[in-house]
Amino acid sequence: MDGFSKSIGGGGPNVPAGSHPAGGSQAAAGGGATQRTQYPYVTGTSVIALKYKDGVIMACDTGASYGSTLRYKSVERIKAVGKHSIIGASGEYSDFQEILRYLDELTLSDHMWDDGNSLGPKEIHSYLTRVMYNRRNKFDPLWNSLVIGGVKKGPKGDEKYLGMVNMIGTHFEENHVATGFGNHLAIPILRAEWHEDMTFEEAVKLVEKCLLVLLYRDRSSINKFQIAKITTEGSTIYPPYSLKTYWGFTHFENPAQGAVGSW
């Protein structure tokens, strides 16, 4: 969903209503007192995540675009939620901030029960699914694709959880997920190379492979990434870093080589 709005091109957020897959139709009818979300403004691009031996690893870049302008370059799109989960978002950044506020309220009231029970990643995923789906039904979606990962001690031992929910309420659980362009570029790599019980180093290598492809091919990505992991010990969001890129391909050396003539 987020990839499409980028690929249509044209300036900033003032894209005509007709070109959007959802929500645009309501805009035409509008003019009333209540406004519905029509288009996203400041957006984050792909998030990728996968389960590994000790928990879940999640990564994304730290950029937020304003249409085709890469406006913000130090945005944290992965956050910790409670003791057991991390959440990553692509799409409208302000909607992500709103979602974080909801989750704050949730975790606070959970804490206030003061009874030793805590919300696990599955519960948070379910809760967010309800929120996203209900907003979609009101034609006022939170324009995000969310990735929720976590580890919680269940009756059968430590249970890893990784799920995704998007702006229309589609939700599922998987061993590896990606949003936006990640769906097209990263998922094929993950499907080929993910396996059960990867070590942290193996998982980071695989994630970096995907991030690199996204960096080369997704125009709204930037070379500044954050990796986060969640294990039984808790969550860690590592400081941003860059990947080494290679541009020394022969075809790039003389780009105008084939452009002889005028037609």
């Binding site: 029960w113 030793g116 029970n117 919300l119 696990g120 599955k122 519960e123 379910s126 009756p155 031992g157």
Partner: protein
């Protein structure tokens, strides 16, 4: 006890700082027939005496399944109990719908207690006349709570409520220390023994008691809350009697006498 001056409505305090209407509501619980609850680390058992209102009628149901992981046994005004069971079921379903996870039993007990408290602070309401033994599971294992009409609730290893429950409580007081590590079968047997204490001479059989159990097996799967079948109960009762070498059973004449003595008002079961 019978201070008529300050007991007209629930929002009037007595000079000693008591709310008599609330205390009278707790009396209603004592009129109901007995219920017993016990729990170990992994399982919780509820048992109730089945007392028919008259010879002709069937007995009032007192044990209700609230969710897969929780159930209640009640004593007092069963009509109030039915309404509260519906509330508990609703809360569990709502939580399951949003979070796809069972509502922890401690939170269920708290919600119930808060609901009961409301009725002790409104002049146009009356307290619920039913005490509930709430048994169920949460992250840390099996728990048993007692919710009273006052809006208070306490966690118990084992408890008994209703008429002649003191006999059961005395029995449980002697044995509860070991309950944490009891097997489900041991818990059920102790529940039956406790119920037997409240019958005081009447023969315990599968027709005059209901037993239900909920728990979590060692491999983590939930054993959902369900009533134990009459045949199995009878089996357990028989095996207990063999072990105890119980004296000769009461004759049918004794049962008849008791029927007329303890005839309860239809709602007070």
């Amino acid at each position: 006890m019978f201070r008529n001056q300050y007991d007209t409505d629930v929002t009037t305090w007595s000079p000693q700082g008591r709310l008599f209407q609330v205390e009278y509501a707790m009396e209603a619980v004592k009129q109901g027939s007995a219920c017993v609850g016990l729990c170990s680390r992994t399982h919780a058992v509820l048992a109730a005496v089945n007392k028919p209102a008259s010879e002709l009628s069937s007995y009032q149901r007192k044990v209700f399944r609230v969710a897969e992981h929780a159930g209640v046994a009640l004593a007092g005004l069963t009509a109030d109990g039915r309404v509260l069971s519906r509330f508990l079921r609703n809360e569990c379903i709502n939580h399951s719908f949003v979070y796809e996870a069972p509502l922890p039993i401690s939170r269920l007990a708290l919600k119930l207690a808060d609901k009961a408290q409301v009725c002790t602070q409104r002049s146009w309401k009356r307290p619920y006349g039913v005490g509930l033994l709430v048994a169920g599971l949460d992250e840390s294992g099996a728990h048993l709570y007692y919710n009273c009409p006052s809006g208070n609730y306490f966690e118990y290893q084992a408890f008994a409520i209703g008429s002649r429950s003191q006999a059961a409580k005395t029995f449980l007081e002697r044995r509860f220390q070991g309950y944490k590590d009891y097997t489900p079968e041991q818990l059920i047997k102790d529940a039956l023994s406790a119920i037997k204490e409240t019958l005081q001479g009447e023969k315990l059989s599968s027709s005059n008691c209901t037993v239900a159990i909920v728990g979590r097996k060692d491999d983590g799967t939930i054993e959902p809350f369900e009533m134990i079948g009459a045949a199995r109960i009878q089996e357990l009762i028989d095996s207990m009697e063999v072990a105890e070498e119980a004296p000769a059973e009461a004759s049918s004449m004794q049962e008849e006498e008791r029927g007329s003595e303890d005839a309860a008002a239809p709602m007070d079961i």
